[in-house]
């Protein structure tokens, strides 16, 4: 695969082990600048591990991860994050003991980041503004998920990795979250993991399907929606 300037991120044939377990056995993903790319696949296929491998939390043993034309595989997560990759992990990964304001302020990479982004963030998630002093642990599930996304927006991130933003949320909150993510995509490139095919198909431009640790199919989301056979084969009843 020739290096391409228009891809913010290219994952090339990575192999990742967790302890003895061979979790990723050849995953390749391309994320074009300005797109929303979604990773699809059944439970346990390796979607989350792919995100963690990109960030460096579970470094791949071989293969390459190219961010902005530079190979970043093997670097520790704190350094990858500082290069401009924001990560919103699954399960509402906020700091429960810190207030909403502290959760946001802690994500500043340069002083003034928060002041610059405040209006944008509270525009996306108006709820957070009135909860600013509450400890993160006191927020509802949906509010925690919003805070987790908001936190990734504080610094200048060129790429956001978002893992299962709809998981365990009420339908009305899912709508709000989808709206926020689609508005976000005007500012930043997004790589999304999403089990909810309806949500994924409405949001994403591109997809990559991962099956038992391997990327088996990728392309434009619009084409997949009409491809009943592939949906049945790779995603089963999910559609």
């Amino acid at each position: 695969m020739a290096p391409s300037q228009k891809n913010v991120l290219e994952v090339r044939n990575i192999q990742t082990f967790i302890g003895q377990f061979h979790i990723l056995d050849g995953v390749s993903v391309e994320v074009p600048d300005g797109s929303i790319t979604v990773l699809l696949g059944r439970n346990g296929a390796g979607k989350t591990t792919t995100l963690k491998s990109i960030l460096g939390l579970t470094p791949p043993r071989s293969g390459a991860i190219v961010f902005n034309g530079k190979e970043i595989q093997g670097e520790p997560a704190f350094r990858t994050a500082a290069k401009g990759i924001g990560y919103v992990p699954e399960h509402r990964a906020i700091f429960r003991d810190l207030s909403v304001a502290e959760n946001l302020r802690i994500a500043e990479r340069k002083s003034g980041d928060l002041a610059r982004r405040e209006e944008f963030i509270f525009g996306l998630f108006p709820d957070l503004k009135r909860l600013i002093k509450l400890p993160g642990g006191n927020l509802s599930g949906g509010q925690q998920q919003m805070l987790a996304v908001a936190r990734a927006l504080v610094p200048d991130n060129q790429l956001l990795l978002i893992d299962e933003p709809s998981e365990g949320l009420a339908p009305v909150v899912i709508e709000q979250m989808m709206e926020a993510i689609s508005r976000l995509s005007a500012h930043t490139t997004i790589l999304l993991v999403e089990q909810n095919f309806i949500m994924a198909s409405r949001l994403a431009d591109r997809y990559t399907i991962i099956e038992t640790g391997r990327s088996v199919k990728s392309g434009m989301m619009a084409d997949l929606i009409d491809d009943e056979a592939s949906i049945q084969r790779y995603l089963g009843a999910a559609a």
């Binding site: 960030l55 939390l57 520790p76 997560a77 704190f78 350094r79 994050a81 500082a82 924001g86 990560y87 992990p89 990964a93 906020i94 700091f95 429960r96 003991d97 810190l98 207030s99 304001a101 502290e102 946001l104 302020r105 802690i106 994500a107 990479r109 928060l114 002041a115 405040e118 209006e119 509270f122 503004k129 600013i132 002093k133 936190r151 990734a152 610094p155």
Partner: protein, 367 residues
Amino acid sequence: MNETLSTTTHSSARRRLAQWWPYLLILGLLVLFPLLAGATIGDPAAAQDGAGLSSLMQRAESGAAKFWQGMIIQILIFAIFAMSYDLLLGYTGILSFGHAMFFGTGGYAMAILIGRNFNWSFGMALLAVILIALAQSLIFGVLSLRVKGVYLAMVTLAFAEMFYILAEAGDFRKYTGADDGLHGFPVPGWLSATDHRTRFYYLTLIFFVAAFLIIKRLVDSPTGKVMVATRENEHRATMIGFNTFWYKLTAFVAAGVFAALAGALSAMYLVSVTPSMLSLGRTIDVLAMTIIGGMGTLVGPILGASIIQLLGYWLERWFGASWTLVYGILFMLIVIFLPYGIVGTLRARSFQIRDGWKQLQQTLAGK
């Protein structure tokens, strides 16, 4: 728009006063204590000349007034030690079983340097204590923070035991006094806690207030917030771009230096250091103070240090040799009914009276 986020950091003078008055009240009482004690429980016969303040000061150097100042000096020294441990365990989530290493090394460094072998001045020795603690905590911090949880506890315990064995070893008897420790080393006359109890009291109070303010400033700073974030979930802190190792090391070094200062003060006050200062037992003491008072509250460990010191004194008077048994039972009850320590439980307003009873009954019924 900006004010929603900035009001949480910059509060007005009035709000600051509202926040600080309990601290100021306690500080005021501590400052006045020698005079009050002199007036009430000091020996009137001790006031030889004059009236007013100078006679009060003389009475403060006598009888029960002198004894209780000594008690508070020891409480304050342990409070500094316990606050340093809270920075480590309560705020950053590092469970060290070797914190006494810094306390003991600080004490020994002070005793050896002002002792006959070196004859350093108090100021120089104090500076040396700080530098030694810095070096020691940097080295052992880098070595032990590579691992986490129980493994870190074991590694720090091993390091502390190493120093314990060194202090006990006969090979360095000339310097350390081996298993006897060092006693009666020449503390400068102007600082002797025997002759100038009130002066030593104020010296300790200054160290205590400085330690409290510095540690509080640290935990309230952005760095402190990253420490809390690291305690809660180190992965998450890494994900947003923090090299958590440096934050843990910062906590480790700051905690080490304050523990060493507490050890040095203890050596000066008791005019004695023994290997037990470096023992696991001493770490357990400070762990108990932190847990009883409330981890991650900073005020809790101060309260914990006071309670344990005072309880130790009274229980021993009432129960004689078996006081540790009563102490153990009290400790269990506190952990069962006040799971976040005294201050922590008060702040969380979560008294687990019913759950505590249930647990106690189950324990007693052997379930």
